[in-house]
């Protein structure tokens, strides 16, 4: 019995740290609607800065707590810098575009942290006066854990007072509930947002700094925390600080007790819980349900697609001609890179079909790429299927994955839908990761090479080109078909679409299947290009890459994702081949691109090259 009580305390201590990070993310998202990937980087910076400051300020209580506080403030200021220099220029961009910018920041911070603090894990001092353990019910509990258990609720109370008892806080809450209304009320949104970023980033920094006595400052902290923080925010309910606290406690305790029963569950527990919560209570534990009757029209849906002018059509054909002629001039490596770029172009286009056309944001699109890749690899590995058959298995399996996941996802909307896609992708990932006998686990499946006729770089390039162009043609055809319009109708105005006899849910569900199948074909091609498949193909970074491609290109255009995919994949491979410091370069280029083209590359081209409509 006493054991369970102590385990409960341990869960609470973990919950406190998680809460600090998640509350910052929740506040930022609530007001600015920015999906801030850099929040994890701020957490990491909090730990590193606190480490450096403890070295300077000495080991006393003043030095330690001073370092924690200063680190939090410093990170808050870094957040302000990011908001003012970067995000402020992007608030008028299409929805989620800021995500790309924060992703650029993540990359830059990773290399800067490596350059500043070096590769080794840096173990900070223990908290003075709290470095020991006290005996509770015959078990030893670290004093610092008890301190964290107190700090969490204290921060919760301070935040509550700040948000409910100060004028600033009331404005923040107003803006959280209705950003447009707050703007109309004449609230100076600029500084409100800056303030919110300061507070949110400060909390991330504080969370990171407070980890110092428990965890060395290390370069994997950023990616380690960000997904968890999002999960906590979503389970708790967007913008609800109390919800974030409750969710952090739920997660912390489930983790602490879950490992007693299923020691291997930690890989997936978080996402299982999120999926269950989203299916049962889509708005989170303490969030407010969205309006029962949807709004008449979505806020930002772009303009009608215009057919390309003849000149552009010819340009497109010319480009295709160049692609067909490429093997005559390019070497094997260039052809392999070109194949990879084509594959990711299809991947991005499939994601765009859901996101851009269907208005359903997928944070877990890598799942379908993975289903396709594994569909092919498993067919080869277990059934001895030839490449041709395996490439048919890829879209089939991924399409079925889309049907299964989509069935749940289309019951939600907006960010909740996005997070459910993420949860499903992570569940699929962990299944593949742990099912050693069938999928080979994290050691993957190897020996997935193309049939002899396509084994050469040029042969495989032609195969990829043919299938990719065919799949892109089908997707494009679908965009301009009644189905594509029905999908857009459901996105533009669900209310109207349903009142015109369109079964929006069914249309969206089928869109999941179609998009999944297209991504799956890309995955199958990817497997044979690489000769092997590993769970990393369906991990979060691949989903993020897809999002960046679509958003960078321009979500409200048909060609945008293609441009984004070519630019991003090409740059990533090109830079990474030349230097080990590819992250800072790629991140820097992404930042430059979003600042130069705040509506995406294709959005920019559309504005500049096409006659504005009167």
């Amino acid at each position: 019995m006493s054991f369970y009580a102590v385990q409960f305390l341990t869960g609470l201590a973990s919950a406190s740290s998680l809460f600090l990070v998640a509350s910052g993310l929740s506040i930022i998202f609530g007001v600015s609607r920015v999906v801030n990937f850099a929040h994890g980087s701020f957490y990491m910076l909090g730990a590193y800065i606190a480490y450096s400051l403890t070295l300077r300020l000495g080991g006393g209580a003043f030095g330690f707590w001073g370092a924690i506080g200063l680190a939090a403030v410093a990170v808050g200021l870094i957040g302000v810098l990011m908001e003012m220099a970067l995000l402020r220029r992007l608030y008028r961009s299409p929805e989620l575009f800021q995500l790309v910018a924060t992703f650029g920041v993540v990359l830059v911070v990773q290399d800067l942290a490596l350059a500043t603090w070096g590769p080794d894990d840096l173990l900070g001092p223990r908290a003075p006066g709290l470095s020991g353990a006290v005996s509770i019910l015959g078990h030893r509990v670290p004093e610092y854990d008890l301190a964290l258990i107190v700090i969490g609720p204290v921060v919760l109370v301070i935040l509550w007072l700040l948000l409910n008892r100060t004028r600033w806080g009331i404005l923040v809450r107003a803006a959280t509930q209705d950003p447009e209304m707050a703007g109309a009320l004449g609230i100076n949104q600029k500084w409100l947002l800056t303030g919110v970023f300061f507070l949110g980033s400060l909390l991330a920094g504080l969370g990171g700094a407070l980890q110092l006595p428990r965890e060395p400052a290390n370069l994997l902290m950023d990616m380690g925390i960000i997904a968890e923080a999002f999960v906590v925010v979503v389970i708790g309910g967007m913008g609800s600080i109390g919800g974030a606290f409750l969710a952090a406690v739920v997660i912390g305790e489930l983790q602490a007790f879950g490992i007693l029963i299923f020691p291997e569950i930690t890989l997936v527990l978080l996402f299982l819980v999120m999926a269950v919560v989203l299916v049962i209570r889509p708005w989170g534990l303490l969030g407010k349900p969205e309006a029962i009757i949807p709004k008449a029209a979505a806020r930002d849906v772009g303009r009608p697609f215009r057919p390309l002018k003849a000149a552009w059509r010819w340009a497109g054909l010319g480009l295709l001609g160049l692609l067909v002629a490429l093997p005559a001039t390019a070497g094997d490596y260039a052809l392999q890179v070109a194949s990879e770029v084509l594959i990711f172009t299809l991947f991005a286009a499939s994601l765009h079909f859901l996101m851009g056309i269907g208005g359903m944001i997928s944070f877990g699109h890598a799942a379908y790429l993975g289903f396709g890749a594994y569909g092919s690899a498993l067919a080869v590995h277990h059934l001895g299927a030839p490449m041709e058959a395996a490439l048919i298995a890829a879209p089939l399996l991924a399409g079925m994955g889309g049907l299964v996941f989509g069935w749940f996802c289309v019951r939600l909307s907006g960010v909740y839908l996005a997070m459910l896609t993420l949860a499903f992708a992570q569940i699929a990932w962990s299944g593949v990761f742990q099912w050693y006998d069938f999928t080979g686990g994290d050691n993957g499946l190897i020996g997935i090479w193309p049939a002899p006729w396509a084994a050469g770089a040029a042969g495989y390039y032609y195969l990829t080109l043919m299938l990719t162009v065919a799949a892109l043609w089908v997707l494009k055809r679908a965009v301009f078909s009644p189905f594509g319009f029905a999908l857009r109708a459901g996105r533009d105005s669900r209310l109207r679409a349903e009142a015109l006899g369109i079964d929006v849910r069914r249309v969206q569900w089928l869109a999941f299947a179609l998009s999944g199948a297209a991504a799956g074909l890309a995955g199958g091609l990817y497997a044979f290009l690489k000769g092997s498949v590993f769970p990393t193909v369906m991990a979060i970074p691949v989903s993020v890459d897809g999002l960046v491609m679509v958003l960078l290109g321009g979500v409200h255009t048909v060609l945008g994702p293609l441009i984004g995919a070519v630019a991003f994949t090409g740059l990533k491979i090109g830079i990474a081949a030349e230097t080990h410091f590819w992250r800072i370069l790629l991140g820097g280029l992404i930042l430059a691109t979003v600042l130069a083209f705040p509506k995406g590359i294709a959005g920019f081209l559309k504005d500049k090259l096409m006659r504005p409509e009167r």
Binding site: F3, V6, Q7, T10, S14, Q110, L114, A115, T116, G118, P119, D120, D121, L123, H139, R140, V141, P142, R214, E215, P216, N218, L219, L220, M221, G224, Q255, I259, L260, P263, E264, T266, L267, G331, D332, Y333, A334, Q336, V337, E340, F433, Q434, Y436, D442, N443, G444, I446, W449, L529, K530, G531, S532, F534, T536, P541, I573, A576, A577, H580, W582
Partner: protein, 402 residues
Amino acid sequence: MIDRRTFVTALAATAAIVAAVPARASEEPIRIGEMNSYTRLPAFTLPYRNGWELALEEVNAAGGVLDRQIEVISKDDGGEPGTAVTMANDLLAREKVSLIFGTLLSNVGLALADFAKQKQIPFIAAEPLTDTIAWSQGNAYTFRLRPGTYVQAAMLAEEAAKLPAKRWAVVAPNYEYGKSAVEAFKTLLSAKRPDVEWVGEQWPALFKIDAGATVQALARTNPDAIYNVTFGADLIKFVREGKLRGLFEGRQVASILGGEPDWIDPLKDEAPEGWIVTGYPWYALETPEHVKFREAYQKRFNDYPRLGSVVGYAAMKTIAAAITKAGSTEPKAITAALRGLTLDSPLGRITYRAADQQSTMGTFVGRLTVKDGMPRMVDWRYGDGAQYLPSEAEAAKMRPAE
């Protein structure tokens, strides 16, 4: 700060190596491809890079091999097998390398091993620990340098069997390396000590350990001894929590890789004393070949060598020896030369066994202590890989038919 200087040095060195065409070589240099997770796991891979750079400089200063300089084209795999294959294509198709070496992560190593088989190019898997790369998924073109999970576990199990402890609990990261490290240890220890009882298992996700809860859960099973496979930040968190909560008091701990400075040094004076570990006592290994290596390394980088440095150094020396033996830079000739190749490494003489293409490099097993504020291994001994590997006949049976 040392770290910033290391960074700048590394940057300059990379640039120099990639760009420099040795002035005195009359012929084109021999091009070698290299790859590792430099951005994903720099703590282990940057010392490794220093190691091969040092060996490269030595080889080239001595006139190269076959009267040609060696040039290394180094890539970052980002910890992703897919990226690794792209980079390998680049090395092979564009850079026209004769051989590829490197990699740390098991899945990256396996992806490249299969790539090597497909493209029929020799690949020296320098650091991956997974034994599948040498055995169940081994192939004719892949050679593995570092002692794998099995050898490390075997050395630990041998020491663990001497302990009175009967009730054992394990904690390992939840992925292939963790699984196979546990399986090997369990099998070997149970074989030596049938009376041993396995009372608990914890499988935290890699680099996401919930240390407090894990320590509590382990303590609850009341083991006499614990076998630890966690490393990196997980290990540090586990040690701090375990100490605070008294998990290690009155209990023996066997920890694989726990004596490698790459992973244990961040703990400094908080390193857990008394643990039985495999590792690398660079400070106390006074064999002539190691002293020579250590001094050269310290002089060159103003830093002490990690295990990764030894592996990187030995990998480059392997390449030089193989090309010399082959008398050619043809991939087929190098592959043939690598089979059964014997050379001197900082840890002594090693041989790439012809049957499974696994080197006989061994590792050290000893007890952990703290000296002058840093973790140190004491009572250590070197276990030659040849003593602990399955026999060549057995190993050959484990490999797929060619």
